[in-house]
Structures are given as C-alpha cells and as structure tokens.
Amino acid sequence: MNFGYIRQHWETVFVYFILFALIVLVGATNHLFLSSRNIQMVLLAAVALGLASFGQTFAILSEGIDLSVGSVISLTTCLTAGLINGRDQMVIPVVALVIGLALLIGFANGFLIVKTGVSPLIVTLGMMSIVQGAALIYAIGPIGEISPAYYFLAWGKVGPFSFPVLLFGIVTVILIYVLKRTTFGRYVYALGGNEEVARLSGIHTGRIRIYVYMLCSLMAALSGLFLTSRMGMGEPVVGEHFMFESIVPVLVGGTSFLGGVGGIVGTLAGVLILTVLQNAVNLFGISTYWLWIVEGGIIVSAAAFYLKEKI
C-alpha cells in the first residue's frame, strides 16, 4: 500500500483504524473476547450481517435503499427449513427455489422503482410488508428442521477454517472485484453518481437498477440460507432487525446515502465494527437495546451529514 492510496482512501483507512482500536480496547478489558470460541462467534455473526450489508451496499451506491432485506431473510429461513424438513435430498431443489424467489422479489423491487418512479424507500417498504406477511402466513412461529448435510453450511470446517467464514471471504473478494473491475460495477457508481449523465452516456440505467435490487435480494437470501443452517430451523421474524442493521455498516463504512461513493471494503469494516460492538455489549452484560439507540443515532446523523454535503 503506497502513500497515494492512503490519501485517496483515507476514510476507509480511518474506519479500519477504528476497528483495530476497538478490538484492542475490548480485548484488553475482557479476557474472553480474544478466545478462539468467541472469535468464532463474532465471525459467524459477521457472516449473516455481512452478506445482507453487501447487498445493501449496492442498493445505497445506486442512490437507493432496500428495506425488504430483513423480511427476505425471514421468509428464506422459513421456506428453507420448512421445505427441507430433515431430508437431505431436498437441499438442492429448495435452495434453488429460495434463490429464484429472492431474485423475483428483487426484480419486482427494481421494476417498480424504475417503471413507476416511486422512491426506493416506499417501494421496498411495501415489499417488506408483503414478504413479511407471506412469511407469517407460511409459519406463525419456528418451523421445520434442516437436514444433516445442511448443517455444514454454518458449522462445517475446511481444515482448520470455518466453512462459512471461508465462503464469506470468497464472496467478499468476488463482490469487491465486481464493483471495481466489471462494467456492472462501473454502471452502479455511474448510476449513483449522476443518473442523467449515465443515461446520456448510453447506459441502460433502468436495467442496471433492476439488477442492483436483484443482487440485493440475492444477498439477503444467502444470509437467510446461512442463518437457517445456524439455527437449524426457520423463524418468521429472525430477519426483522436486519432491515435496519444491514444499513448501518454501509454508512459506517463510508458509502454515501447520495450514491456513487463508497464500496464493499468499507462495508466490511462496518460489519466487523458492528459485530464486535454487539459481542462486547454481550460480554459486558449490557442490554443489546443500548446498541439500537447508538445505531439509530448513526443512521440519522449520517443522513444529515450527507444532506449537508449535498447543499
């Protein structure tokens, strides 16, 4: 890393510095924090949140937002556990079905936003209610049971490494690559930076926007698939707080509500900061709800900050 990189990406460097300081601070004050068992727990929590937040990063980069990710996660866990119901041979068809459904939900989000011009906030808020309703109709409480093979997704090991953490690492690298190196990534930044310029440059802005919401839903479904394996069953409200929590790391990581600025690298730091905080709060025996208050403050101040910048 040369000095020019640091200067250009000082915000990202700063976020990672905060993460590092936080780890040192919590590690120094609580001896359990750096135990391998606890690290494992933090990382597993980071996987669930990270997948959802990465999807959300794309939505926010394109100057949008997706409030339906939480309910997509909930619906995914219910359908996966409910339909597999202990049978190994059902894993592949069910996973395919769930992913297809998520892509359809994402398509519907994007299509409605593009064709009606209604703000993403409203469209995905409506979708959130629709999908949550569907989940609760399918299962009013915990449902189903995963199969033995499906356990591997959350608890498997490849050599000394946790399988989901490894998988998460691969997904992270792919998404960084997609954003930085592919035409799709360029288009997402262009869309968020200035949609009219993008359109006048010959970019299919509507199509790209639809892809963004499909990707966002897909990432939520992946998070749901992972959570199902971790919990061993489906749970119709497990994703509830993800709607909110998927946004916080994106903002903490330096992606702007105005779109066009930021990326996955920053979001990853945001995800780790948030999961370390959640873990620390647990270790110190403080109510998690304090964290909710902090997160709420972060979102409102980030929004206010970016708005000010725009003016």
Binding site: F184, R186, Y189, A190, G193, N194, V197, A198, G202
Partner: protein, 505 residues
C-alpha cells in the same frame, strides 16, 4: 412620469469566474414601465435579483424613495415594496386563488385566527383592480397559465408593492393572453406603480415600455426612452462592441448528409423543425435562451422523445431514438450543464473519459485496465487536459479542463456527429481557443458538429452554416459570410423572419 422612486447606483456583483455586474446604474420612476434588455448573460437577472433581495451586491447602493436601503432577504425587499414575479410562479397548486394571494400574510382577527371574510373581500378587491373577476375559490392548479400570472400580480398588489419586477412574463403567455397582461401592466403603471419588465423580445419592449435600459456583459450600455430609438438601434445597443476574438481558419472535410430532421415537433419548444447536417461541417445554432435550441439537441440525441416528425441518420429513418441508440449511431452530446448532465463530478478523470465506451473495452464484462489506461493517456495528451493523475476526481479540475474531459469522452467514442451545447460557456480564453482548434480538427476528420451558442462572435467565427431559432421554430438560415450579429439577433428576437420581411444582408 412622476418622481424617481428607485435608484440603483454603481452596482457590482461577481460570481466565481465572472463579473456578472460591473458598476451598473438603474433608476425607475412612478408610473413608468421600464424595460431591461440584453442578451443571455448580460446581467439582467442578477440585477433584478439584487433589487429583490435575493442577492447582495458586492458594491453600490440602492436608494428607495430617496433613502439608502439594504435588503438582507427577499422578505426585506417585499416589506419595502419591491416584488418580483419569476418565470416559474410561486403558487401553491392545491390552495385556492384567495388563499394564494394572501399566503403567509392572511388577515387575522383578534384571536389570531384567519379572518376568512376579510381574506375574500380583500382578494376580490385586488383582483377587481386588475380587471379580473376570477372565482376566488378555484384551486390554482385548475387555472390557466395566464390566470396564474394574474394571481401572481394580485399577490404583489396585496403586498402594496410600489415596484413590480416581471422576469420575462411573455415567455409563458402569448397572443390574447399577452394582450391581457399588457392591459394589466398599463393600468398598474397608470395607478402610479413602477414596473420593471425584462424581455428578450424587441417588439414587446416598444409596445409597452416607456424607457429601456440595455445591459451587455454585465455593463450598462445606456438607458433611453423608447420613443427615441428604433428596433435596429436597440439591437445594435444589445450587440454592442464585439470582442476581438480570433478563430482558427475553416477546415473542409468530406461532405455528405449524416443527419436529417423532417417536421420534428415537441410541445411548444420544437415546432416543425427540418434541417440537415453534413459530415465535415459545423452547423451553428443561434437563438435566445428558451428558443428551443437545447430541446433540439436533446431530441437529436434521443434524450427527449419527439412527438411528430422523423429523424434520419445516414439516410436511414430511426424510430424510438434513445441516447443509447444515438451513441450506437455515432452521435455524441456535450451538454450545456456540465455539472448536472456532463460529468460525474465525484468520479475520476478516467471514469468519466471512458463512461460512454466501457462496453467496448471489456472482455467477459471485465474492464481491460491496460486498454482503458492507454485510451485515457492518449486523451489527456491529445486534449492537453491538466490533471495530476487519471485518478483525480473530475470536480477538482478547472471548468475548461472539465469541458475537455467531456469532449474527449465523446471523441473516444469515434462519433460521426457531435452536438455541443454552449461548448465554451464559463471557461477561460485559453481553454476556449483549444476547444475551437479541437472542433476544427474533428471537422477535418469528417465529423459533423452541431454547435449551439449564445455567443454570436463564436457562432459567426466557427460555423459553416448558421440556423437561428425563435420560439421553437427555425427563424432563418444564414451563411457566415452574410451573417452579422445584428442580423442573427433580429431573427432570434423575432423582429424579422427570413421568408417574411427579409433579413438585412
């Protein structure tokens, strides 16, 4: 004419990069209609915005009824009796006529509740003064534009304004409605108000104004009585001295028709436009702001849909044109508004340079870094773009360099036709010259250029043919050898039409 009610003395105002006003004087008397004329960018709007309290002058003083005054806000100006009516009205569509007239100043009874009776009685009186018996209970959104304009004027009267400024009121109404507006203006004048009337249209100025003040490049040319001057005289005042600018000599490229428009219409802004553009030529399009020039450019590029007519590229009729298909056919569009439509300001020079050709430098959707960098390095060298690195965010470049990035972006797409809307607006002289040279080079290579410009010397100096637009129509076509600034302005202002009264040549 009565006492002097307003004196603006030695008013100066600078914005970053431009001296919008340079020691301008304006005075106004009770019972006069005072027109403010000048080309785009002459400083008319800035001057009245200062008077209306929207801007603070850098220098100079404003005397109102003989007293020196400083307006800190539009509200201040209103309280002092100065009201401005902008082209975009300030009305709440879902409130009714009376509620709009007294918006924010509703008469109240002693309990602080809106006194509805007085509200409607006073509204009726004010409208009666304007000779209107409009239904007070109608929602403003159901009114015609002319009626909304009347409501705006009623608002000004309800404020007891002594000075009413109208910013190009005739740009939204025409024909009979305009006559109605003139009647209202004259009756206001006769009741002792001062009216400052901004207009591009020479005819109107003679029809309604008692005196006219002409601005040019932020400076006062003169204030004269309309009876002491004729149309041609006024036009020469508006054109004024010309800058001694030199333009590179014309280049001749291969000529073959690459674009033809037949009877293109879109709303009021494009009416039955037919024209052709050949390869290797610069077609200059002149016209005043709002004459439909930008709309024409957007229609050719597919940015806006046309309602009627046909567009042919290389002799082939194209339907459902979009920017994407226009680009595929070899069209580039350098927009007038750099910041909103030209660049993605918080992205790098590289990002902006290749935005329109990313499709062509990818393999399996992966952007080919080497290729991209080579293209960008070439652009920076060829266009002499001053930037520390390709990664520099384009917002930190100067206006001229930003414009060069945009030009290079389109040249990278190997266009057959480039539309340039005000290509040299707001950039310094050096960058201007470079852009002129680039245009010549493109033409030599056989590219066709449509250049829209408000700067008449530029239009005459650069174009191979000049089309002048007025009110959404083509008012005439001139060759650069026969074109004069006066001739173009006469067509642009609607004083003459080429096939009607003929043009001086």
């Amino acid at each position: 004419m009565g006492e002097t009610i307003l004196e603006m003395k030695e008013i100066s105002k600078a914005f970053p990069g431009v001296q919008a006003l340079d020691r301008v004087n304006l005075d106004c008397q009770r019972g006069e209609v005072h027109a403010l004329a000048g080309e785009n960018g002459a400083g008319k709007s800035t001057l009245v915005k200062i008077l209306a309290g929207a801007y603070r002058p850098d220098e100079g003083e404003i005397n109102l009824q003989g007293q020196e005054t400083t307006f800190h806000s539009p509200k201040d100006a209103q309280m002092a009796g100065v009201t401005i009516i902008y082209q975009e009205f300030n009305l709440i569509p879902d409130l009714n006529v009376a509620e709009n007239i007294f918006l924010g100043r509703e008469p109240r009874n002693r309990f602080g509740i809106v006194d509805v009776k007085t509200l409607y009685r006073r509204s009726k009186e004010v409208l009666a003064e304007l000779g209107s018996d409009m239904d007070l209970f109608r929602k403003v959104k159901t009114l015609s534009v002319a009626q909304q304009q009347t409501v705006e004027i009623a608002k000004a009267l309800a404020l007891d304004a002594d000075i009413i400024i109208m910013d190009e009121p005739s740009s939204v109404v025409s024909g009979k409605e305009l006559e109605g507006l003139f009647r209202i203006i004259l009756s206001l004048r006769d009741s002792g108000k001062a009216i400052i009337y901004i207009s591009h249209r020479i005819d109107e100025i003679f029809q309604i104004a008692d005196r006219v003040t002409v601005l040019k490049d932020g400076q006062l040319v003169d204030t004269v009585k309309t009876e002491d001057v004729d149309k041609q005289g006024l036009i020469s005042m508006m054109v004024g001295r010309t800058f001694a600018e030199t333009f590179p000599p014309r280049e001749q490229g291969e000529k073959r028709e690459i674009l033809r428009l037949e009877g293109v219409c879109r709303g009021r802004k494009l009416r039955d436009i037919s024209l052709g553009v050949r390869s290797g030529e610069i077609l200059g399009i002149a016209g005043l702001g709002g004459s439909g020039r930008t709309e024409l450019a957007r229609a050719i590029f597919g940015a806006d849909r046309i309602e009627k007519g046909t567009i042919h590229f290389d002799g082939e009729k194209v339907k459902n044109l979009t920017p994407r298909t226009a680009i595929a056919r070899g069209v580039g569009f350098v927009t007038e508004d750099r910041k909103q439509e030209g660049i993605i300001h918080n992205q790098s020079v590289k990002f902006n340079l290749t935005l329109a050709i990313i499709d062509k430098i990818q393999r399996w959707t992966l952007i080919q870094n080497q290729k991209e960098k080579a293209i960008c390095d070439k652009s920076v060298a060829q266009f002499n773009i001053a930037t520390p690195t390709l990664e520099q965010e384009v917002q930190y470049l100067s206006g001229g360099n930003q414009q060069k990035v945009i030009l290079a972006k389109w040249v990278n797409a190997n266009p057959k036709l480039v539309i340039m809307d005000e290509p040299t607006r707001g950039i310094d002289v050096g960058a201007k010259a470079e852009i002129y040279n680039l245009m010549r080079r493109l033409v030599k290579q056989g590219t066709g250029i449509i250049m829209i410009s408000s700067e008449l010397p530029e239009v005459i100096g650069m174009s191979d043919r000049i089309v002048v637009m007025h009110d959404g129509e083509i008012a005439g076509e001139l060759s650069p050898s026969e074109a004069t600034e006066e001739g173009i302005l006469a067509l642009a202002a609607g004083v003459v039409r080429q096939n009607g009264e003929g043009v001086d040549s």
